[in-house]
């Protein structure tokens, strides 16, 4: 339409300097040592941290599955409501997302503490105290709490496209509740599930705040390791870059896995 490619030039320059170049520098640092010589040692050394990587993947996967299970019915119920009600309910789902996630996580700190609110309430009934903060479970809880809306919203979007008559047709044709669920509802919400998984898994696997605030010092994740290399005590840019590179590969693998379900849905959520 408008023939003015030149208008894009400021952005293209910006893109090359501040998107492409930084990633190339990460790759450069990952494959060099402190004096700038080529080495594979940083990548090899990651093996020493394999337990941290395994923990990150495991906790993020747990959080993703829990989010999916919790969010699926919510997405379904919301998509069946009258349009005016849907609007209000969506607002309610999104409202906590607008609170800064540090404050949301801080709220859980005061709930889960050893002499925190949950333990105090349980104490009235003669239960506990339970050790909840600084456990892996608390980290998973923090991830679920922070990222649950990211699962509900794409599921809801996918399910609004499912016509009620399709579900009724399945039931009329003799499908059981389970059959309707596995053969109709689940496949039709596939794109939403795929998007939701990415949107929960990626921030969960790379977080360093949730693990630090709710996991104490004993539940380090990949994000914590990277942060320590750049701003913390370890202070080793080469090692940190190698870890970042591996994290990027993990994320790319996860995304290529989920995007095989549906290509266009990412755009729909944007």
């Amino acid at each position: 339409m408008i023939k003015s490619k030149a208008a894009a030039s400021p952005y293209l320059v910006w893109m090359v300097i501040f998107i492409v170049a930084p990633l190339l520098i990460v790759a450069y640092y990952a494959f060099t040592d402190a004096s700038g010589n080529f080495t594979l040692e940083n990548i090899m050394a990651i093996g020493r941290y394999s337990s941290v990587f395994a923990r990150s993947l495991l906790l993020a996967a747990e959080a993703t599955v829990i989010c999916l299970v919790l969010a699926f019915p919510v997405g379904y119920f919301l998509s069946r409501l009258r349009a005016s009600k849907q609007h209000i309910m969506l607002m309610l789902v999104m409202l906590p997302m607008w609170m800064n996630f540090l404050l949301r996580t801080y709220a859980w700190m005061s709930l889960l503490e050893n002499n925190g609110i949950i333990n105090t309430v349980l104490g009235f009934f003669g239960l506990g105290p339970f050790r909840m903060i600084n456990t892996a479970g608390a980290v998973v809880l923090g991830m679920v709490y922070n990222y649950l809306p990211y699962m509900i919203l794409p599921l809801y979007t996918a399910m609004t496209k499912i016509d009620n008559s399709i579900i009724e047709a399945a039931q009329d044709l003799g499908a059981s509740t389970l059959g309707t669920f596995t053969k109709v509802l689940l496949p039709l919400s596939g794109p939403g599930i795929a998007t939701g998984i990415t949107m929960v898994f990626v921030p969960s696997v790379s977080t360093f705040i949730i693990s630090r605030m709710l996991g104490g010092g004993s539940n380090l994740l990949i994000g914590d390791l990277i942060e320590l290399q750049f701003l913390g005590n370890s202070y080793n840019f080469n090692m940190g870059s190698a870890m970042s590179l591996v994290l990027m590969v993990i994320v790319l693998l996860c995304m290529s896995f989920t995007s095989s379900f549906d290509e266009q849905e990412m755009e729909g959520v944007m």
Partner: protein, 282 residues
């Protein structure tokens, strides 16, 4: 009968999920009025934490910095991003796809990677520039913070505005040219007004992302403190009910913005409906 039980079950479930989502925020708010510093026992009502919050220099200057960075980065990102959208739309399919894929990177990459990679670039630039003394001494701080925020805001502008530009009827632009506009006039008088809603919403998205961002700022702010970074340093200090007061205020501000925009929306909707009916009556 069965369906009524089912509906009750559904309602209970949704209510429980909303309790899970809102209970922590409610607890924060309740304890912002607590007289003692205890986070578990409510000893009495006070507004002291709100008073001390508003005399807290650290918080106030952090808030000012956050607003300034958000405003500047959103303006720059919106202008550069809108220009980019127009320019990219004039390109061939392959270049479009290539540029879009690169633009997606800050969106799909974990934030920590974007933050760390920019930090490495800035360190690299600083080391390089120190030989020639071309960069200001305070390079790590406001300049890096602004660059980082503009960088993560730009893709959101492009992905918000470009669908609108694609949907737009290209004949509007051509008609403007036929009626004697120069290409520049045609753009500013015919195309830009069509894009304005998309550009505005992109601008608002940039503002909120920028005010809310912690991770990318954390790696690129030097010694400066934006509001999220100030909040982070407060959470490290364990007991500080000021943070509860701050959360409550932020929640109320967000809630009122949403309620107001909702009310405006529904009023406009009703007015349009009303106009439609009046039109029918005639």
């Amino acid at each position: 009968m069965k369906s009524r039980h089912l509906r009750l079950l559904q309602r209970t479930y949704v209510v429980l999920i909303f309790c899970f989502m809102y209970l922590p925020i409610l607890v924060l708010a309740v304890f912002s009025f607590n007289e003692s510093k205890s986070r578990t026992v409510f000893t009495g009502f006070t507004l002291d934490w709100y008073k001390s919050l508003f005399t807290n220099r650290m918080i106030l200057s952090a808030l000012a910095l956050s607003l300034a960075v958000a405003l500047v980065s959103a303006v720059v990102a919106t202008v550069v991003g809108t220009m980019a959208t127009v320019g990219i739309s004039a390109m061939g399919r392959k270049s479009q796809l290539f540029i879009n894929n690169i633009s997606y990177m800050p969106v799909v990459n974990p934030e920590i990677i974007t933050g760390v990679s920019l930090m490495l670039l800035f360190v690299f630039l600083q080391n390089w520039a120190s030989k020639f003394d071309v960069l200001p001494d305070a390079f790590f701080g406001l300049p890096t913070l602004l660059i980082a925020h503009i960088t993560f805001n730009l893709p959101y502008v492009i992905f918000n505005v470009s669908p609108k530009l694609r949907q737009m009827d290209s004949r509007i632009y051509e008609a403007a040219l036929d009626l004697g506009c120069t290409p520049r006039q045609a753009f500013f008088k015919a195309v830009l007004p069509e894009l304005t809603p998309a550009i505005l919403s992109a601008f608002l998205i940039c503002l909120t992302y920028s005010i809310d961002d912690f991770i990318i700022s954390y790696f690129n702010c030097g010694t400066l403190q934006t509001l999220p970074i100030a909040i982070y340093s407060m959470t490290r200090k364990k007991v500080s009910p000021e943070i509860n007061a701050l959360s409550t205020i932020m929640f109320l501000v967000i809630l009122s913005i949403i309620l107001i925009s909702n009310a405006l929306d529904s009023r406009r909707y009703k007015r349009e409906q009303g106009l439609g009916k009046a039109g029918e009556g005639r």
